[in-house]
Amino acid sequence: MRKKTRALSGASQEAFFRRVLRAHPGLSPEERDALLRKLRSEVAQVRVRVEPRAEGEAAAIIGKTAAPPEPPAKVIQSVPPPPAPTPAPFDPYSPNVVVVVRKGGREAALAALDSIDSVDNLRHLAREQRLSIGEEPVTAADVRAAIVTAAERRIANRMAAAT
């Protein structure tokens, strides 16, 4: 029986990369972030193989909800072999969270921070952008939320001073 394939690009492609990289516990969060950035900038589209009986499963891969332990899909085209893990230096000023919140609101800022997986990098970003997040948030999702809340406080603080 001929196997079906499905093209992924944009957000679904990024979700796919993320899952593939997460399936390699040997990679540090920093290395994962660096590889993700590299793949995002160099790959326009991937085509993944979908087994006929596993189509529902494939849909879950493409979506963001399920988190299978190993990716059942295989890349058959376009994806270059992952470069040697020489992580590009993390830029703690990107995204500029205050600017993103001002322009697009909380959700846009959370989405912009979503590509940073490492809690250490998120904390580094918060420190450099003078966004006070305290010690409580532990998971990446919590740290992201705390960063955005701190940016909102920062904006409100400045508005108050200018009244």
């Binding site: 830029d91 600017v99 322009k103 450099e128 001073a161 200018a162 009244t163």
Partner: protein, 296 residues
């Protein structure tokens, strides 16, 4: 027609005096303008940069400073304006036949005291509310400054960090205002406040409703080191304020240019590797100011 340019920021140490002097030299040398630098700052840094300590002290003892000018005029002492001016000063040679030159109305440490004195003097003359007297004093200073500048092509007013009557009068009078700033955390608060003062609004929302193209001021990033923190702050400030495209990096040549030296030199000798930045600043500031003056 005289063009009035104010250099202002309520925060100190952002380079107002340095940039005032640099632009005065540039406008005289490249724009061939007769430039008057009006030193409204009681620190008198621009005066010291242009005539040195002895030159400034001599003018001060002779009663030829901006404070004396205001006091004399309020007292109706009829000295000619030229009495107070130190003409053709500074250590840059503008060339005998080029027409451009820099003159100075020297600053005075007594300017703040004299403003208070003038306020009290005016209050005692009429039965007016303090606010009305303040408006009157400010208005009179504005007229005097305008009158003083009439013999020049360009008047650069180096404003003090505080909100003295003279500083407010300068902001009222200016065709355009350059707000130099260092990109640090507190700068954004200072910029918001000076912008609201210039545009005569009371809230950030009111300020935001004025399109950048209609604002009377432009902000000049100064002393940049080129790091990510600066880039981040500039992006944030650019959401609320019109920033000039030109910025001035932190250069030793700029700091060294203002060690007082009696020897006249060329712009190239004085400003060295800062020269291209100054050229860009000159072209942009006078381009923007010209544009605003025409549209006003």
């Amino acid at each position: 027609m005289t063009q009035f340019l104010a250099m202002s920021n309520r925060k100190g140490g952002v380079g107002k005096s340095t940039i005032s002097v640099m632009l005065a030299h540039a406008a005289a040398s490249w724009g061939k303008r007769r430039v008057l630098l009006m030193d409204l700052d009681t620190q008198c840094n621009a005066s010291l940069m242009l005539v040195g300590g002895e030159g400034w002290e001599k003018a001060s003892r002779a009663g030829h400073t901006i404070a004396d000018y205001f006091y004399d005029r309020f007292e109706k002492v009829a000295e000619d304006e030229s009495t107070y001016v130190l003409a053709n000063i500074g250590d840059v040679s503008h060339g005998r036949f080029f027409g451009g030159r820099v003159s100075l109305l020297p600053g005075s440490q007594r300017l703040e005291d004299i403003q208070n004195e003038l306020f009290v003097m005016q209050s005692s003359k009429r039965e007016l509310h303090a606010d009305a007297v303040a408006v009157q004093v400010r208005g009179r200073m504005k007229r005097l400054m305008k009158h003083f500048g009439m013999d020049f092509d360009l008047v650069i007013m180096d404003c003090p960090p505080g909100l003295s009557f003279a500083a407010l009068a300068a902001l009222d009078l200016a065709d355009h205002i350059v707000v130099p700033f260092r990109p640090d955390f507190v700068s954004q608060f200072a910029m918001d406040r000076v912008a609201m003062l210039i545009e005569r609004v009371e809230t950030g929302e009111q300020l935001a409703s004025i399109p950048f193209g209609e604002r009377r001021y432009s902000c000049l990033p100064n002393g940049l080191k080129g790091d990510g923190a600066e880039r981040m702050l500039l992006e944030q400030l650019a959401l609320d304020h019109p920033l000039l495209k030109t910025s001035l990096p932190a250069l030793d040549s700029i700091a060294r240019a203002f060690d007082w030296d009696e020897t006249r030199k060329s712009m190239e000798q004085k400003y060295a590797d800062a020269l291209p930045h100054l050229r860009a600043l000159h072209d942009e500031v006078f381009g923007v100011a010209q544009l605003r003056a025409k549209s006003a």
